[in-house]
Subunit: 201 residues, 2 copies
């Protein structure tokens, strides 16, 4: 079970260093633009030595993508299991999503953008998880409709649009920016629920 420094921050193993450095470089240059030699020199070793810690380049990508996906899924299913109010569920789902994506900004970015470069097998597995995640959101929307608190919308369309807003966070979030993840999640929830138009009350 492979572990990055963000998950187990105390034991900063060489492997965790390598992965963290890789993610930062992939954030800047993209997966394909980051070579094993780039990564190696960033952690002050030779490219060949990396293979004592990781099985190859794709392993860095796949580990990151799947670790992130599983954390998102776990959070979402907890929300769906424990709470009852649809608006509250949505709010918590958003918070979960933003929290995980912003916790490690580089991992968040790689997860959102670079999964496309997974090899065929991993990519198919990944897409399945993503679909599962979308279903979890649709469940919330459906419940909201059934209870008459959400509008009747094309659920698939709505979920894609919502996830788009959520994922875009990785594009501009900065750890020391003017909004922290909690505030971002709050504003996003507000936007998703109420839109731009002024209400009458």
């Amino acid at each position: 079970m492979l572990v990055s420094s963000k998950i187990s921050p105390k034991t900063t193993t060489r492997k965790a260093q390598i992965i963290d450095t890789s993610l930062e470089m992939m954030y800047r240059l993209g997966y394909q633009g980051t070579s094993m030699r780039d990564i190696a020199s960033s952690v002050s070793m030779e490219a060949a030595s990396l293979y004592n810690h990781i099985s190859g380049k794709e392993a860095i990508l796949s580990e990151t993508c799947f670790t992130m996906a599983e954390r998102l899924l776990k959070g979402l299913s907890e929300v769906n299991d424990i709470y009852f109010n649809p608006a509250e569920k949505l709010s918590l789902a958003v918070k979960n999503h933003v929290h995980i994506l912003t916790e490690n900004t580089f991992a968040g970015w790689v997860f959102v953008h670079e999964w496309r470069h997974l090899g065929d097998e991993n990519r198919h597995r990944f897409v399945k998880l993503r679909d599962e995640y979308e279903k979890g959101f649709i469940t919330i929307l459906k419940q909201g409709e059934d209870e008459g608190v959400f509008q009747d919308v094309n659920n698939k369309f709505a979920v894609l649009t919502i996830l788009a807003s959520l994922n875009w966070v990785v594009e501009w979030y900065k750890p020391h920016g003017s909004m922290n993840p909690e505030q971002i999640a709050e504003k996003l929830t507000e936007f998703i629920l109420s839109g731009l138009k002024k209400t009458n009350n």
Copy 2:
């Protein structure tokens, strides 16, 4: 002045073929994942022959990115010049955006995702245009606030979230899917303005 087949669809020059093919490949494999030899074999010639039509790999990317950016900007400034009602402006701006991104799905995708791989100079120029575009949207939001029809929100934040939803279209739009660009734009406008919550009237 370089012209792709989408802009001047009648004269399908060899160059236009090359660019269109390139965009499709970059959509599938990414900019860095698409080699000149890949492109060449897709148009049935040798890699070296490509240089009779284009100055290099980056030219394909930069031409696409800047052509798209200029079209978006032109559309947006027309909207801002001609119309008065903020909600109507927003609706038309969304329509413009969706229309241009979906007209050529591959170009749309490359524009949204691959501009990061522009060289330093082009990338800086591109980011300037993007900022200008965001400002055009902010103008609309501000006007809406001033006239009391939009909520007071963090404009920068709102614009980024809105553009996120709009750009995400390139992720799932299919020319022969269940919604055409007009319908997509309409639904997006609805979502941006009204959100998910049921209104009281």
